[in-house]
């Protein structure tokens, strides 16, 4: 189903705005996707969010998805600077095109960043990637706990 935002069509793969129509000699898909394929980062078959890396198989399937909520998806990732495991919550394509949802995502991160408790996952980083991706990096804990966190995201 087309993703509408102020009557602009957006790519179902990456959320970037699309041209209204193709024409002979022009591309009819998503320019952002077509440029992204050419970047060296895709060679590793891993998906990078700044210095956080999510393992992806060669056919594009994410290998370690911790959970999926209404706002986005949470992955197990590696902080490539420190070599340590982290949890990465990435806003979904549908929400990323909605400025209100992006703002809620930011507020959630700000609120969670204020909390410090051994039983509560802590946010350490809020990041943005063009064209419309926002993500938060959470402290890593056991996957069992993350299932509960992801369920909670659904009700946020």
């Amino acid at each position: 189903m087309p993703l509408a935002d102020e009557e602009v069509l957006r790519c179902e793969q990456c959320g970037a705005p699309l041209a209204s129509a193709g024409a002979p000699g022009t591309i009819s898909g998503c320019l952002n996707c077509l440029l992204l394929v050419g970047l060296n980062e895709t060679e590793s078959t891993n998906r990078c969010f700044q210095h956080y890396e999510v393992s992806v198989s060669s056919d594009g399937v994410t290998l370690w998805e911790l959970g999926r909520g209404a706002m986005g998806t949470t992955y197990h990732a590696i902080d490539t600077n420190l070599g340590s495991p982290v949890a990465l919550k990435v806003i979904g394509v549908r929400c990323s095109t909605d400025p209100g949802a992006r703002e809620r995502f930011r507020r959630e991160a700000q609120a969670a960043a204020q909390l410090r408790h051994p039983n509560v996952a802590t946010v350490f980083h809020f990041g943005e990637l063009p064209p419309a991706t926002v993500f938060t990096q959470w402290s890593w804990s056991k996957a069992k706990r993350w299932k509960r966190v992801c369920v909670a995201m659904d009700h946020y």
């Binding site: 087309p2 993703l3 935002d5 102020e6 009557e7 602009v8 069509l9 957006r10 790519c11 179902e12 793969q13 990456c14 970037a16 705005p17 699309l18 041209a19 209204s20 129509a21 193709g22 024409a23 002979p24 000699g25 022009t26 591309i27 009819s28 898909g29 998503c30 320019l31 952002n32 996707c33 077509l34 440029l35 992204l36 394929v37 050419g38 970047l39 060296n40 895709t42 060679e43 060669s58 056919d59 594009g60 063009p130 064209p131 419309a132």
Partner: protein, 252 residues
Amino acid sequence: MKGIPGTLQEGGATFATTHWSVVEACADDETADSALARLCQDYWPPLYTFARRRGNNSADAQDLVQGFFAYLLQSKAYAQTDRRKGKFRSFLLASFKNYMTDAWDKTRAIKRGGDHEFVLLDDEVEAAEALYRRVPPAMKLDDEQQYEHAWAAALAASALQRTQYEFDSSAKARLFHALKPFLTGGIGLPSHEEVARRLDISIDTLRSHLSRLRARYRELLREEVARTIGMAEDVDDELRHLRRILAAGHYC
């Protein structure tokens, strides 16, 4: 080993001699002229979009582009500039802007560039006009950013066309058209299962074909980018820059 169209493997010398780095390296001989002419032939649509953005109608934009290339080759203006010219994209836009302000009136009648004549075919002009109009309405780009957006589209279109040509010539046209949506993205994308059923192949086989398609497109895109940057430039940096232009338009 099967030859790859447009490369030395096919027996031609078209690809290696049409790099911007060739123009950089030998700015005043016939090889440089031919390399520049070929690059101009392949990458004139972004200049057309720039001329259109500056308020010219389609016919005037075509005249401007044709006149500019003729002027560029006849005057050998490229040989008089700094030998470390950087990217072809930047050189072309800077020269075109100068031409629009200084040389356009004087050379209005010139349409030929020595041995190299630029004839714009109707379908090419139609494609360039579509390129000018294809920037999504949500993106607010200035003239130069739109030029770079058009440049990125021209690079991707060229790589995609070469990929399609290779698949077509090895009797894999049906496979290419079935897998193309996964490469290009967009809307109304089919599922892997749906396409596998249509092609009567397993999911694993489909993913393997898709992986090869992505890898080949990637090689060709990087070759196209490499054609247009200087020897000291990096393909990844150029791709990242072009993606930033898309993002800049998105967040305005």
